[in-house]
């Protein structure tokens, strides 16, 4: 009966019902859509951070992260390899790398960058570089003089495919190591900073230049399930001697991990702000609906209806307004997400600004069931909670006063 009365009462004044429902619809729509957009931006930032030579887990010689010099290289990669073979869950990929700071120069320019020696075939399965070469070709495993550089770096060096680039760094003996490479490929990355920062050569070439023999700087691992990173890192840490350090992506990308934590708190706060604006609309409209029907509430009480039953009747009206508004708001929110899921929002025009925050050039919205559930629960339960005020008002009218009301 409460639901029947509630349902019919909300259609007594369709315009007022439309106004309050529009408030709920816009609130839920923005919560779902902007929540998905922000979540997508954050996920892209994390994905990009992980793909940009981070991986889900990294293994280094102890001390490498404080001082990333060739002295702190892993000298016995076979030990790490055998540990990984037994510990990594199915679907995991990993690759070794040599990674040192170097100075690149040509006839006109010189600049600092990170020289990365890779196994091209394995690296392609772990980081972005496998599908990032847009001009020229990828490296081959035994490439001796080939180098792949980023487009931004090539532009700033005014160089291109087939041109020579000299790299200089410090070898294992502490002496200056220098070698000339020829550019065989140019890659594009999500961020210009990545294009400027990294240059890739085949691992044997890097090891030879730095006199590392079999030595490597790091092992990067991608898991099938990102959520297992902490557990797997812990297991690898336990299996390897203490001369190795094992870090998950949350430790390797502390800023992003902090963003992620901040984001969850921010979402709650933001939902609350949207709801407060919406809540005033709900209370105001429900109060109008209650004061318009004072006589009716008086009648209900005269007929023997208890105050709590009247509260339930008013809450039933709010229930329908909220559920209908939420249904339409969610539909619009999900349709908006769907519309942008293919093309995303292109922020190339302000790429320099977005890069400052580690954002990608194109943002794709990502719907999280948890975010949608939190938004809906908040609107529903807080909506009913604020409706208690007009409902309690309706329940407090005395029959005589209410029936005398004109």
């Amino acid at each position: 009966m409460y639901f029947r009365l509630g349902w019919r009462n909300i259609w007594r004044n369709p315009r007022r019902t439309a106004v309050i429902m529009i408030a709920v619809i816009i609130g839920v729509w923005t919560m779902v859509f902007l929540g998905a957009l922000t979540r997508g931006m954050l996920e892209d930032m994390i994905e990009n951070g992980i793909a940009t030579l981070t991986g889900h887990i990294q293994i280094h010689q102890r001390g490498y992260r404080e001082d990333p010099a060739v002295d702190n290289s892993i000298t016995d990669p076979n030990m790490v390899e055998s540990a990984l073979e037994s510990l990594l869950p199915p679907g995991s990929r990993w690759t070794p790398r040599v990674r040192v700071n170097a100075i690149a120069s040509n006839a006109r320019h010189s600049d600092g960058l990170t020289l990365v020696g890779i196994d091209p075939e394995r690296e392609a399965k772990v980081s972005f570089i496998g599908h990032a070469v847009t001009k020229g070709r990828c490296l081959t495993p035994d490439e001796e003089n080939g180098i792949v550089v980023g487009k931004a770096m090539a532009d700033s060096f005014e160089t291109g495919l087939g041109r020579k680039l000299v790299l200089m760094s410090q070898d294992r003996r502490g002496e200056i190591a220098s070698r000339a490479f020829r550019i065989v490929g140019i890659f594009r990355a999500e961020m210009q900073a990545t294009e400027k920062q990294f240059a890739f050569v085949a691992m044997p070439a890097a090891q030879h230049m730095l006199k590392l023999r079999e030595g490597i700087s790091e092992v990067s691992i991608i898991l099938h399930d990102q959520g297992e990173a902490e557990r797997v890192a812990h297991e690898i840490r336990a299996a390897l001697p203490s001369t190795y350090e094992v870090h998950s992506w949350r430790e390797l990308l502390p800023l992003l991990a902090a963003y992620l934590r901040l984001f969850d708190g921010f979402m709650w706060l933001w939902y609350l702000v949207v709801f407060i604006a919406m809540g005033f609309g709900i209370v105001n409209t429900m109060l109008m609906a209650v004061f318009e029907r004072i006589r009716e509430f008086g009648l209900l009480k005269a007929l023997g209806m208890r105050p709590w039953w009247i509260i339930k009747e008013v809450l039933a009206e709010s229930f329908f307004l909220l559920v209908l508004g939420m249904a339409i708001g969610n539909t619009l929110g999900l349709l908006s997400v769907l519309a942008l899921s293919g093309s995303g929002i292109d922020l190339s025009a302000i790429a320099a600004g977005t890069e400052y925050f580690g954002m990608t050039r194109v943002i794709y919205p990502s719907v999280s069931a948890k975010d949608v559930a939190i938004a809906n629960m908040m609107v529903f339960f807080l909506g009913l909670l604020v409706s208690m005020y007009p409902a309690a008002k309706a329940a407090r009218f005395t029959p005589v006063e209410a029936l005398a009301h004109t």
Partner: protein, 229 residues
């Protein structure tokens, strides 16, 4: 057997800074099965007395007993229960629930009482037929004439077999022909179901129909006549 007992009932209201004495010590007794009218000019206190008997309002002092219940000792919840199970109301302005059909309006009180759906439906249809609204079950109040709405209100008041029906100026908004039809119907209900009816009115026709006429003036019982036959 007494259905209503009022002993020295007093009630005053505050209007702005003025105290208005609505009842100045009413004492009366109404027997079960009565068809009585509280008559008097506007402001005489008859509606106030009716509200107090119905448990809608409370007396400042005195004693009110309705169907064996001493009202001044009852809580709001107990009064609500009394109104739900023992008292039926008919108001001057019909006061039907506009979003419910005639049938649903009649069913409403039984629903609050917890009567089963099937029984509710059967009893509501039967009473609507009795008050001459056969075939109008699904009409909403806005689709009924004033007389038909008041018939629905009467049907609602008596469908759950209350001990007493209190009708506040039931014919005030009706033309004389419709009002007469309504009074005939209520009289028939009174006789066939032995339901006690108490009206407040200043309509002569209602006074003529009443078997007992209690005249209220200045918050006191000024006259009390029981008609013969």
């Amino acid at each position: 057997m007494s259905m209503v007992e009022c002993i020295d009932v007093k009630k005053s209201y505050r209007q702005d800074k003025l105290e208005v004495k609505a009842l100045n010590g009413v004492t009366l007794s109404i027997q079960k099965g009565a068809f009585a009218a509280l008559a008097g000019p506007s402001g005489s206190g008859k509606t106030t007395l009716l509200n107090i008997i119905g448990g809608l309002d409370s007396a400042d002092s005195g004693r009110v007993v309705v169907d064996g219940h001493v009202l001044e000792t009852m809580t709001q919840s107990e009064l609500a229960n009394l109104r739900l199970h023992n008292v039926g109301f008919v108001f001057q302005s019909y006061n039907l629930i506009p979003v419910l059909s005639a049938l649903e309006n009649v069913e409403f009180v039984m629903l609050l009482q917890g009567v089963s759906t099937a029984e509710r439906r059967d009893r509501a249809i039967a009473i609507l037929d009795d008050v001459g609204l056969e075939g109008m079950y699904n009409r909403r109040p806005a689709e009924l004439s004033g007389g038909q709405q008041q018939r629905v209100a009467v049907a609602r008041a008596i469908v759950s077999s209350p001990s007493i029906v209190l009708a506040d100026e039931p014919t005030a908004n009706l033309d004389s022909k419709t009002g007469k039809g309504l009074l005939e119907m209520m009289k028939q209900m009174n006789e066939s179901r032995n339901v006690t009816f108490v009206f407040s009115t200043h309509d002569k026709m209602v006074m003529d129909y009443a078997r007992r006429l209690i005249l209220i003036r200045d918050g006191l019982v000024a006259d009390d006549q029981v008609k013969e036959g």
